[in-house]
Amino acid sequence: MLNREKVILMTRMASYENGKGKENLRIGTYFRSDYIFSSIIKAIFAVTISFVFGLGLYIYYNFEEFLANIYEMDLLALFQSFWKYYLIVLIIYVAISYVIAFIRYMLAVRNIRKYKSNLKKIRKLQKKQ
């Protein structure tokens, strides 16, 4: 026999699994610390790659100047100033990524909890039949 309540529950859960649930369930496979750690690693990569691009543009932009003065320039001081900018950007970006990852994980766990309680309900309904 078709069970009305069960069909409604299963439909809700199927649409959740197809939509928001896909990402939530993926996040739910991690421990919180692992998820946040992985997103921080990704953030570090993102900043580093962008910084390399930016540096490339900067050097290309000042290419003639560099070529003309390459022997007189204090390269060490130049790289130190690059390094300082890199660290500032990195710290800000990683902090923002940390907060976002934290919130995302909390929301995902909350949704998964609802999802699991629905699973239990379905199991009960199935046993009743």
């Binding site: 078709l2 069909v7 299963m10 439909t11 993102a46 290309y60 199935q126």
Partner: protein
């Protein structure tokens, strides 16, 4: 007002019935507008500057995920840049990549916003965007909006320098790059617009979510005011010279659109018909779930029973609300209006002689609707 609600219900019914066709059609139109705008504005590469190609690309976008619109739009603009100068295309690619890697990563679903923002900027109505997005989207969309504004600024600089760059040789690549980067770094107005948009959108979003009455109206009003003020402050500091008549006119348009969205808010909640498949031990289910049309807050009614009339007698002594004092016999020792069960024996009449009957609903039953129409 009821007539309006009926129309809304009809529109929503049609939307839910045909959303399988309406959504691709909307995507097709949006994609076509974006691609056509890029082609007419840049148009350096004749091969793709062709309505047929725009249409084919838009058709592709209509049934693929909405992020594809942004990818194809970026590809179109890069191809045009490539035809202008390879170094400009390389710069464009680097800027797009940095925008994606640093910012858009956080809001991958809002990529449509990135494609739409430059078009609205071009039409000089971008000021509706923060209000609309604050009402229908989450705070992550601010990032997409900012990326769109920066992409617009970049494309505009390329456009305005295209004549100069076309005359340059490939050996002047460094000069071409310098030309664009110098202008990009000098365009402070762009950053000001991004900041104003982000602040406005966040204000609208957080006010809309506040658990207070009229939160949507407050959000729309405050959003418009905040946007005008931030742009004004930005203009004073940066001296950008934007047209304030335009901003005010577009703000009025934003208010109108905001109220239309408020009216249809259940429609823009991204509720849509769901086609899902699942199975249990006995059956395969192919379910089509159609969202119910909710009338929302406007259906809330408060029933007020036995509202006091002018000059009614209060049972409690010492009232200060202008009702008459209680006659002496009501609280003198002789008065005993209560039966042995402790009920007040009034035969269905209140003190002022109004009949309320056995059901407790008197003649002066009033229904007060709590519509904030």
């Amino acid at each position: 007002m009821n007539r309006l609600f009926e129309i809304r219900t009809k529109i929503l019914e049609i939307y839910y019935k045909y959303d399988a066709f309406i959504i691709p059609a909307v995507k097709l139109i949006m994609a076509f507008i974006v691609f056509h705008t890029i082609n007419t504005r840049m148009g350096y590469f004749d091969t793709i500057n062709n309505v047929a190609i725009e249409l084919i690309a838009s058709l592709l976008c209509s049934f693929l995920p909405s992020g594809i619109i942004l990818i194809i739009a970026a590809a179109f603009s890069l191809l045009h840049m490539y035809h202008l100068s390879i170094i400009v295309a390389a710069l464009g690619l680097v800027i797009y990549l940095i925008l994606y890697i640093l910012f858009l990563r956080f809001a991958p679903k809002a990529s449509l916003v990135v494609a739409i923002t430059p078009v609205l900027m071009l039409w000089k109505i971008p000021y509706i965007l923060p209000i609309i997005l604050g009402l229908i989207a989450g705070p992550g969309t601010t990032v997409a909006m900012g990326c769109g504004v920066i992409a617009y600024g970049f494309l505009k600089i390329i456009n305005s320098n295209s004549a100069t760059m076309a005359t340059m040789e490939l050996t002047d690549a460094a000069d071409q790059l310098k030309l664009i980067i110098d202008e990009l770094l000098a365009s402070k107005g762009l950053l000001m617009v991004v900041a104003a948009f982000v602040i406005t959108m966040l204000v609208v979003y957080f006010l809309r979510r506040l658990p207070i009455n009229h939160n949507w109206d407050i959000a729309i009003g405050a959003g418009v005011v905040v946007q005008i003020v931030t742009l004004l402050i930005g203009d004073v500091i940066m001296d950008t010279g934007i047209s304030f008549i335009n901003i005010i006119l577009v703000s009025i348009l934003a208010v109108v659109i905001g109220f239309v969205i408020k009216f249809f808010r259940y429609c823009v909640d991204f509720n849509r018909t769901e086609n899902v498949q699942f199975e249990d031990d006995d059956y395969y289910y192919y379910v089509k779930a159609v969202p119910k049309i909710s009338l929302g807050e406007s259906s809330g009614r408060v029933r007020r029973i036995n509202r006091r009339k002018e000059g009614a007698v209060s049972l409690r002594a010492g009232r200060r609300d202008g009702y008459e004092d209680i006659p002496e016999e009501y609280y003198s020792d002789e008065f005993n209006g209560y039966d042995e069960n402790g009920y007040y024996e009034d035969n269905g009449y209140t003190e002022d002689g109004t009949y309320y009957g056995e059901d407790g609903l008197g003649d002066d039953l009033t229904e007060v609707s709590l519509d904030n129409k």
